[in-house]
Symmetry: D4
Subunit: 148 residues, 8 copies
């Protein structure tokens, strides 16, 4: 049995690569997907495909239609979603993806530093598991496969 895991969260550093590498080291049968991690491409994808837009709001709207296409397709194939909140950025997409997972019946593992607990508390209450590190998130998934 292999699990599909969608990695929701910011795309400004390489936290997903770190998770992928650790999962490989732990020999976990996990297949990861997530948003476009190239931040510029994510912002520009609307104009790259649809051409120059009349203004910046419409450039954003075009990009988001493609980012949401990607998320919808990939999240429908996910068995479980990991959402990571950090101390920077608005991270409204992280909140959106985490909440969409829960409302769609997909279990959510939330990674957040303890100091962020207050603003993220209602999302945390909806998550199936709340952890502070990427290692703990993978240990949670490892537990699903263990028998001893």
């Amino acid at each position: 049995m292999e699990l599909n895991v969608y990695l929701a969260g910011q795309i400004h550093d390489d936290w997903r690569a770190e998770i992928r590498q650790k999962a490989e080291e732990m020999e976990l049968p996990l297949h990861f997907t997530g948003p476009m991690e190239n931040h510029d491409r994510s912002d520009n994808i609307g104009e790259e495909i649809l051409g120059k837009q009349p203004n910046s709001v419409l450039k954003d709207e075009a990009a988001s239609s493609l980012n949401n296409l990607r998320t919808q397709i990939l999240m429908q194939k996910a068995d479980v979603v990991i959402a990571l909140f950090g101390e920077q950025y608005k991270q409204w997409n992280t909140a959106m993806d985490a909440s969409t997972a829960v409302a769609s019946g997909k279990p959510l593992i939330l990674i957040r530093p303890e100091k962020l607990h207050h603003p993220v508390k209602e999302i945390a209450n909806k998550a199936q598991v709340v952890v502070e590190t990427k290692e703990q998130a993978l240990q949670a998934l490892s537990y699903v496969f263990e028998t001893q």
Copy 2:
């Protein structure tokens, strides 16, 4: 026909009272619900009902279990959700409620200042209608009832 409208968003000012008053002036058959608008009570409700908790994370967890109970019950009764984003606060709950509405098949009207469009663009793309003012949100709902 009367519509139930859940008002998702921050609870630091009286924007909901403003919407309620305008709706009354416009004589719209709308019934509004939303989160607890007394901010201190929202933060303390866990300890008020369940007693003193071991630490602040657990105080938050207790409060969020009651806030989410409220939201779940009231949103299930809503025909449409209005979510307001502003320039202050993390507003992760607003993103959570907006996304839960969409994932549950409830139409979403998003109110946000134009300058916030970039960070909220993927949520905006999921909303049925995106506006900048509370008046526009009510005009959208008024349109549902008009015949001419």
Copy 3:
């Protein structure tokens, strides 16, 4: 028992008024809803609420977001949908609303002139009842209430 009936179809003549009047004459306990029947208002509603848009495609996009808000809210409250196809106009919205009704588990009554059967045949096959006149559509609904 009263039934909510959504009337899908073109908004260029007063066919809905005719249906409403006949239903009243037949003393049927039906409550009708439908799209904005003022064609100009339907086309302009986006700019009326959201302001001038950069071009005609975006004017259309703004209007359609409000028209779809209306349809989504009203169709979710409908017990049954009547869709009327005529010989004029593209009527893609009629096809959209009829198909959305079927895919959402709502019974569909299709009114179309016999000569249109060929192009509408796949939608007709999904409809619960196919008729040629508005009277027949109302007779079908009348039958739901009759006991003799």
Copy 4:
């Protein structure tokens, strides 16, 4: 990961072959399905299997029951639907399939010439992505698989 793509739209020219070929050139892991592309066979399939029908409406009804069987089975296996609108033909089936996809929770990519935007605006508003060319539709799907 491979995606199943249902190609909704008219069956009078070879636009699907063009899409299949381009996807192959782009080495995209896509598997395409769609309606019967032989127009005569699509119109006659009812009588071919069920025998001569009493009149042309019933010939159509017989054919549409088989065409809808095909669409229902294939669309249930689709991860995403592409719907193409052109300037000819009524294309009510295209509107029907596009709307069924959206109402069933499947993401929709709409291809239409800009000049058709006005009549197709409400369907466009429901689509996840709206483009003008087949290349753009495939670029949108390519984006789902890209990581850089």
Copy 5:
């Protein structure tokens, strides 16, 4: 609290009138619906509304489209379904309505004479309650309201 009860079964005698009368005597807050009980009208309703059909199969098809419209609308409003099987008639509609109720999550009360148990055993196994008389079916519903 009032319950809507759909009465599925043959329409050749007045068993529904008997149930309605008993329920009134027992002062149960039940509202009953069911198929057209006038057998001729049920068979002819297709031609009565749609006009003369080319042959008897098509007359049947026309009638069934209207009978199913009625059943779909009324069963969607039902809280519970009572299905009665007797020793006469094919009663395939009874089996159809009983099974549709179960597959739609509506509780089913099955009334059948004990001697019919063998052929109806798989439907009986899906029913929530199996009884032999109309009185027992009403006693079962009465139990839902009792507190002592």
Copy 6:
């Protein structure tokens, strides 16, 4: 707005009467339902309606078919479920009703003495709110209605 509340739990004492009375004192707009509270009647209802059964397992099976009919109908009408666990009795029905509520998307308030937490911990983790007293459960519901 009034809420329907299903009270799941043992039927050996009058804890539901206590909740009903407190809710009345608190002037909460709650309507309560629950299982048959007369224990003998709950055990014997199968034979009371269906007649003497061949053995005690079948007597139990008959009774449970009627008890489950009642629960299914009443829980489908509930907006929220309160489940009370105590230190006596097996309470497998309480666990069943609590879990059915959660799996059906209905919010669950769990009342249990702290000392029972270990065996009930997985159910508690699924509950939206976990409390120790009936007063706390009602305070949680009161919070749903409060605005200050």
Copy 7:
């Protein structure tokens, strides 16, 4: 692409073997399932597994619990259901399986001799395709795979 096909209908002759053989001759990528075709075993399976039952109704109830387990598991894996009605037997299970398929969103192909149309008319109206022979049912499925 391979399709799973559930074959609902009587188990007194070898009509399923005939379908399997024809499908093989036509080289259709179909995988067939269906009920236990050994009639005695189907009737006795309850006592074979659960032991001697107190009476014949309970023997039937035991058998039907196992037959329904089989049907539920296999039909959930089916892409399409073929139901065959003949002139003999009550065939209430056929009606049950056909209706369950439709209510579960699975397309139904109905095979029935024309002379049976009257009693089966409401089920026929719910079927996606109605045919008279097994060959026609397979031709309908063949059409799903054809491109020319």
Copy 8:
């Protein structure tokens, strides 16, 4: 065709190993999953991953969040659930998993000693099959695959 089977029940002895071995002897194409069978690990997994908790209730809450993550993921992949009740332990998780299976549309096979029937009667009534031994449960699954 292979079936995924979730084995719900206590984790104090090796009943699952017994089932796995018998299934292998019977050469049944079954793939089994279930909860963590190492009881200490199941109780401590919360602190093992999340670190020391403030008190025993919170240690339990942490453990249950991980146990429920495991159950949710594995049960969503199950085609059928076997739940075993014995004479020891509270077994509220068994009742929870059995009820979740039923409410999620997954068939349930219940194993329980006859003497336990009274307290488990309402769960038994919801199960598709009720047996007394592990062999019988496997015979029931074997029956799904047999053709003679």
